[in-house]
């Protein structure tokens, strides 16, 4: 394969940048969707309404037993069937990630909600707030704040997970790097470059988490 060739990376930078943008966009939207749906699942599990709690628990445990790739295959098959027409790979992938990550976010949020002291809830009840008002104004804001470092860590994992859209040929950073690697025949350069980009982003993210934790500990 000859010597290391930086040229192939530079000449394909715009294409790779498009891929990275897709990775980041997918990560961002999946984090938002995952946290919203995950919080709802966590509230359902803690709601005290038996059937609701059971369904939410079953969903979370089911998703957590199955590989993400299988979940992606599932939604690539199910979404167009449910919608009645193809809606494009990006949306199918996004729905798959939201549904998958929600199970993990719900566990984080459940722990976060339980970390809020019981006295706070009682205080809310004493002032005459209803269940949802207590969740909305008392419990969730504190749960979120306590859980920010873990939510960010899960976000970093999610960013790494987006590389799996490779299996359905969606052009994220991973797929873009693979396409260049194959068409240009520069496997070593492109896969090491992809590794470097992922490393820089994820490592910066974990340093950020460490600073957050240090600040919160004080």
């Amino acid at each position: 394969m000859g010597d290391f060739d930086f040229g192939v990376i530079i000449s394909n930078l715009p294409f790779l940048w498009q891929g990275l943008q897709l990775s980041l966009l997918l990560t961002l939207l999946a984090i938002l969707g995952g946290i919203v749906l995950g919080t709802l699942l966590a509230l359902a599990r803690l709601s005290g309404i038996k059937p609701l709690a059971l369904v939410a628990a079953a969903y979370v445990n089911l998703i957590r037993s199955v590989p993400l790739i299988l979940v992606i295959f599932w939604f690539y098959f199910l979404v167009p069937l449910a919608v009645g027409r193809p809606i494009g790979g990006f949306y199918s992938a996004l729905i798959a990630f939201v549904m998958f990550e929600a199970a993990y976010y719900s566990e984080i949020m459940r722990a976060g909600i339980q970390s809020v002291k019981k006295g706070q809830v009682h205080a809310g009840q004493a002032t005459g707030l209803g269940y949802w008002q207590i969740q909305r104004y008392v419990v969730l804001p504190q749960a979120f704040r306590n859980m920010i470092p873990i939510l960010v860590t899960q976000g970093i994992i999610l960013f790494q997970d987006t590389s799996l859209v490779f299996v359905v040929s969606l052009r994220d950073l991973m797929t873009a790097s693979s396409i260049v690697a194959r068409t240009e025949g520069r496997l070593v350069e492109m896969y090491l470059f992809a590794a470097l980009v992922y490393f820089v982003i994820c490592f910066s993210g974990s340093l950020f988490v460490r600073r957050l934790q240090a600040r919160m500990a004080t």
Partner: protein
């Protein structure tokens, strides 16, 4: 929804055989990788807590490197890039003469990746052991090796059994990435059945049920192990 149900395809000998062979590969990859992960992860995890600055920095670097690059990228590097970086003979051996190249590559990639996560659990376990215990052991005249052998490791390994359960389950799930380098494990086989028969729903359901069964079995096994290794009066006090 317009879909023709046909659950019987799953029981046709050909497709049932695919599922079973896929299950076999999934279990083989996961268990072999788990052995690598335990050995390497324990060494690296212990290394991070050693007083020797050089070794602990090296082990920290290992964890950061393997944890911050997606497993898929690592798998492709082992499979596509490493043979090209080696001298031609060695590279050719990896690609052609090595027995089961896809399997071996998947096991190595998954094993070394999981090792970085195991190492973190081991380190956390060691750091949970109260400082007083190791100080007392040192005061008794134990060497660093002896402190680890007789005090830190026996306690910490029993402490980390619960968090290791989830890592153990993750290895099974992550073994599905082997399909990207052409190993027909469970997920790949279910997709292949979907493509051959157009019965995607049935094929993915079969794979999903098998994964759930694997998770249940592994959880039960780890719960038993947890009960067996529990330190009386210690559980619930960590952290």
């Amino acid at each position: 929804m317009n879909y023709n149900w046909n659950w019987s395809v799953l029981f046709e000998p050909e497709y049932l055989g695919w599922l079973m062979s896929g299950l076999g590969w999934t279990i083989s990859v996961a268990l072999c990788a788990w052995v690598i992960a335990l050995v390497v992860g324990s060494l690296v995890g212990v290394g991070r807590t050693l007083p020797n600055k050089f070794i602990s920095t090296l082990c920290t670097a290992y964890v950061e490197l393997f944890r911050n690059v997606p497993l898929l990228v690592q798998m492709f590097i082992w499979y596509f890039a490493v043979p090209e970086m080696l001298p031609e003979d060695a590279g050719r051996w990896m690609k052609r003469d090595m027995p089961q190249p896809e399997f071996v590559t998947a096991v190595v990639a998954l094993g070394l990746y999981t090792a970085s996560r195991v190492a973190e659990q081991v380190r956390a376990g060691i750091e949970t052991v109260p400082k007083g215990l190791s100080s007392a052991a040192t005061a008794q005249g134990m060497s660093v090796a002896q402190v680890y052998r007789y005090v830190l490791l026996p306690i910490s390994f029993r402490l980390i059994v619960p968090p290791m359960t989830s890592e153990f389950l993750t290895v099974f799930k992550n073994s599905s990435l082997a399909l990207t380098i052409g190993l027909l494990e469970l997920t790949a086989q279910s997709q292949q059945i979907a493509e051959y028969t157009f019965q995607s729903f049935e094929a993915y359901t079969a794979a999903t049920i098998i994964y759930v069964l694997i998770a249940l079995t592994a959880t039960v096994a780890m719960t038993l192990l947890e009960r067996y290794t529990r330190i009386p009066g210690y559980v619930g006090k960590e952290g």
